[in-house]
Amino acid sequence: MFNLFKKIKQTDPIVYLLTVFLLIWSVINIYSASYHEYSNLYIKQIVFVSIAFSIITFLPFLIEYRKFGYISFYLYLVSVILLILVKFFGVSILGAKRWINLGFFQLQPSEVAKFSMIIFSAYFISNTKLPLSFKDFLKIMGLSAIPFILIYSQPDLGSGILVVLPVLVMVFLAKFNIKYTIGFVLAGIILSPFIWTHLKDYQKNRIIAFLNPESDPKGTAYHIIQSKIAIGSGMLTGKGYLQGSQSKYYFLPEQHTDFIYATIGEEWGFVVSFLILTVYFILSLRIFYIGMKTNELFGKFLCYGIALIIGFQAFINIAMNVGMAPVVGVPLPFLSYGGTALIMFSLMIMIVLNIEYINKKEGFRFHSQDTLNY
């Protein structure tokens, strides 16, 4: 008989339990957020959560994360092909072609790209002489630019940024020359006016609205204001489950995807919204810690990449919800509705659990100086 508790102890129980906690919350909140309009949405979410649960519960013991390394380039290729396919066969929702309809399921290739980009860059870095040379830096950046451009043109700036950002930070962690790093950051700042001219109008509006939400309360800034009202009106303990007026009466847009956190804030108040913020923080820190413990470079950078994407994505989404970041369309990991994202994130957690499982099995211990000296 499969002994769950005993098995979980062999991986990392903190990462596992925090993920399960988030999965349970996702069902609870998708039910609330779709209560009025799409009443069967939570059933789909239950299906995906069950798949995700199976992935993180059983797969860590059945696979070997290093094998992902061997197929990482193919994964990269597949996601690029999917991103090209979505250009031609994509389903257009609200003016953006982001999904491929598979009949039973709408695949979101950008989510696949995020996942494969982390694996691919971790593999790339772990098989390169460190510290990273400028030539290798250009190589990996060039490779990540392809999915970025494809996603950006969907248009989906948020996912595009999330494809590149973990790669950039991983490069930074791979001891890429600090002078170049600073140079690139400065270059980015200098080039931003140029980038600005290439942004779509709605993207510009979102940034303007973020900088001054009261400028246009019924237009773009509407999202930010309504989300702030939703969260703020939750006060300490919230309005009660299914009682959120902001979300139930459609003042809050995208409440089951990008703005699910506002629904939580409204219905459960500061207590739970703070708890969930903390869960992401601890989860991210814990995965970083597992990465630090891992000697093997591919595993180490995988953990860093995964910790980064979960941490970043959660924080950017929450910042967006509380009005501290422009609305860039970044969903909340595990909690936002979306099958592809949920499966991809649980695959990432599965990899982390597998790394820790192998670490424990092979008796690797934390000696940080060995392979990578910061």
């Binding site: 930074f172 969260i231 703020g232 003042f251 991210s284």
Partner: protein
């Protein structure tokens, strides 16, 4: 020991992020929580007002004068409309299906979302309403509101000035009275305004949970509208109609009639002539009609009964007589030699009748309206006493502050010093004693002279409301007569004045013989008030607005008065020849049609 390396740097940034977000959550939910909770409550609770039906207005016999009918107004919520349709679509839908041309102003309100709701069209036709429901998918964010509309009956046109009109409350009124809602009808003038609190009723309120598309989700609480109380005016519309027809058939362009019950001071008829169409006034005149009304020199829009101030002339004499008798200046037996003129130094005061009056007493003086008699009596009495009795009768005072607007100006020594910065001369007293000079009164004030004479010295509160039906207690509440004060007039003094007034009608030299034709004994007094001095008048006597004003006050029956009133004809030339026949016409018809029983 944690070493500072790139990873710890990264984790540090992440930690900073974490605290920033946690701090932000604390700020939004704990510090500003109350504020956002309030906003979110307003966000989804909308208050809909339902308008009460306004109380009906009846005359004293229950003849309907004003009532309500429901109409439908098309209201738009700009915020929702904007979300669903482009401006072009909106224009086309409204034009094609409801036949409404959207003007730029309304379009701008919708486009810029200036107000939470905006009235697109009032008073929709039945066909429009059907179309609205049939094509309701084209009108997301619109709704129909029931708006009561006032309807005035044909009879109500006879007392347009008294009924007044209704309208929507102004910003100021809304601020002042928290019970008002923007779509409730409130009285703006006349009885509609005076008794607005009785007539208005209370708005119903419905707090509804609405979503961002304006769809109603759930009724949180509901308060039904409370119907306004029906009121019964003291006006008898039959008498009012007779008064109107009297004017209409007389060819006199401008004037007023007030008839009251002297025992209660209930106003039975109150006409300001010419008048206007009440329903049209409420619904709005065309530009030409409005121009016609406002530029008409006979001032149809002005209620002359309360707003016009004219010299009273000889109708003031009964009051001066009572003062003189009571103050002992004369007795009923006192005879005074009254010639054709009276001199004070170089100033000459003429009698209206060049023949003079002879050696006469108070009865004859009233009968012939002898000016020279009253010049002498007035001087003996003194201006202070004339002012004192004027005040006792209620001249210059609002006996019913709701009803009266302007009041009489009774000149006194103080008044002249204060207003004209001049001293009082004997000539002023002489003029005042025949109701000329600085004195001006409203036609309503004229009834204040005659009512106490008719009822034996009681100064009552005049009222136009007889009763109202209280919806709360389901009872008819009568308005009781209210005595403000009693003027102590000795019976023989009062009888002397009454007798004089009787002789005005029945005496051999009476100035109002026209009243003889009234089948019931009555008493009155004519008044012909100079507007311009004799010399000026002579030059332009043909011009209407240079002519004298004609007055006639009367009470009937002589022994047990039931009606007391005044006829005033602006620039009517002669009280006896013009005003008195008009009063005679009115009274004759009242008795002929048995509106007032006499036994």
């Amino acid at each position: 020991m944690i070493k500072f390396n790139r990873l710890t740097f990264l984790i540090l940034i992440l930690t900073l992020f974490y605290f920033a977000l946690a701090g932000r959550l604390f700020y939004l939910q704990i510090i500003k929580g109350e504020y956002y909770r309030e906003i979110s409550d307003k966000n989804y609770i909308k208050i809909f007002y339902s308008n009460p039906s306004r109380g009906k207005i009846y005359d004293r016999n229950g003849i309907l004068l004003a009532y309500d009918v429901p109409t439908y107004s098309l209201i738009a919520f700009p915020y929702i409309v904007k979300k669903n349709y482009t401006m072009q679509e909106l224009k086309e839908n409204l034009k094609n299906y409801l036949n409404i041309e959207l003007d730029e102003k309304t379009l701008n309100i919708i486009k810029k979302n200036l107000y939470p709701s905006v009235v697109i069209k009032k008073d929709l036709t039945q066909k429009d309403i059907e179309n609205f429901y049939n094509y309701n998918y084209l009108f997301n964010g619109f709704y129909l509101e029931v708006v009561p509309k006032r309807v005035y009956t044909e009879e109500a046109n006879y007392l347009a000035h008294i009924i007044g009109y209704v309208g929507y409350p102004s910003e100021k009124e809304l601020k002042k009275n928290p019970n008002l809602s923007p779509n409730i009808l409130v009285g703006k003038a006349g009885v509609e305004k005076i008794y607005d609190s009785l007539l208005r009723g209370e708005s119903g309120q419905k707090a509804v949970l609405v979503d961002a598309f304006g769809r109603q989700k759930k009724v949180l609480w509901e308060k039904d509208p409370r119907k306004g109380n029906d009121i019964y005016l003291s006006i008898d519309i039959r008498i009012q109609k007779i008064a109107f027809e009297a004017f209409n058939s007389s060819k006199h362009p401008s004037g007023a009639v007030v008839l009251a019950d002297p025992n209660t001071y209930e106003i039975l008829a109150l006409l300001s002539y010419p008048t206007y169409n009440l329903q049209k006034f409420y619904e709005g005149f065309s530009q030409e009609e409005w121009k016609e009304l406002t530029e008409n020199k006979y001032k149809p829009l002005m209620n002359k009964v309360f707003l016009g101030k004219y010299p009273p002339g000889s109708i003031y004499k009964p009051l001066v007589s009572i003062a003189a008798l009571e103050e002992g200046a004369i007795t009923p037996e006192t005879r005074i030699s009254s010639g054709s003129e009276f001199r004070i130094g170089k100033w000459v005061y003429r009698n209206w009748d060049k023949r003079g009056c002879g050696f006469i007493n108070i009865f004859e003086a009233l009968e012939t309206s002898c000016d020279t008699f009253f010049y002498q009596v007035g001087l003996k009495l003194g201006v202070e006493n004339i002012v004192k009795y004027s005040k006792l009768f209620g001249l210059g005072e609002r006996l019913n502050p709701d009803l009266e607007v302007k009041v009489a100006t009774i000149p006194s020594k103080e008044w002249k010093r204060k207003v004209l910065k001049q001293n009082w001369f004997h000539g002023d007293t002489v003029n005042l004693s025949i109701g000329q000079g600085y004195i001006t009164i409203t036609p309503f004030d004229a009834t204040k002279i005659v009512v106490p004479i008719a009822n034996g010295g009681y100064v009552l509160k005049p009222h136009i409301l007889k009763a109202y039906f209280d919806n709360k207690s389901q009872r008819l509440v009568h308005i009781n007569p209210e005595v403000i004060r009693k003027i102590n007039i000795k019976k023989w003094n009062l009888d002397a004045v009454r007798y004089g007034m009787y002789f005005v009608v029945y005496g051999p030299s009476g100035t109002a013989k026209a009243l003889k034709t009234v089948p019931v004994l009555n008493a009155g007094k004519t008044g012909t008030a100079q507007v311009y001095s004799y010399d000026i008048r002579k030059k332009r006597y043909h011009a209407w607005d240079f002519r004298d004003h004609a007055w006639f006050i009367d009470y009937v029956p002589y022994n047990k008065p039931k009606i007391a009133g005044v006829v005033f004809i602006e620039h009517g030339e002669s009280g006896g020849k013009v005003a008195a026949p008009l009063m005679a016409y009115i009274l004759k018809r009242i008795f002929k049609e048995k509106i007032i029983e006499t036994k």
